[in-house]
Symmetry: C2
Subunit: 90 residues, 2 copies
């Protein structure tokens, strides 16, 4: 299933997500997609760079996509938030 | 000069950088590169998305690069920081 290869970056420490990506690569995944929204986008780039430079040096950035997602708030309104998808492949 | 087409995203409000990019496109630039480091990376993605969806809807994301830069601190040490380069083209 492709969903297995997605790591969602959020509020936890950066190294948690680095470990999650490295674990995916360790379990025979050829590709891992790192996703994040809003302020976590910077952390997603950190995760990709740390994995690539330190842990899986054979992994390369295959693709980066940015987009805008619309999130419904609890009050029923909606806000727009940027998102990023970084695909690492080896 | 290609340097004219680069917008560096930092600590100012997002809309300042949106205006800078839109101004570049208004002065006959076919491409504008949005650059940012560290926590400003999220804002750079916001800038690209707002320009593309609201002000220059003919502009497309042509390329996105991420990398790691080494910055020398005042104490003479060095820290690594992630950076992003988003190329918008129309």
């Amino acid at each position: 299933m492709p969903e297995d290869n997605i790591v969602y970056v959020g509020n936890k420490p950066t190294m948690n997500y680095v470990l999650a990506v490295t674990t995916q690569f360790g379990s025979d995944s050829k590709e891992v997609v790192i996703k994040a929204r809003g302020k976590a986008i910077s952390k997603a780039v950190d995760v990709a760079e740390i994995v690539r430079n330190r842990f899986n040096t054979d992994a390369k950035v295959k693709d980066i996509k940015i987009s805008t997602e619309e999130i419904t708030t609890e009050e029923g309104g909606s806000i727009k938030v940027s998102s990023i998808e970084i695909t690492l492949a080896k």
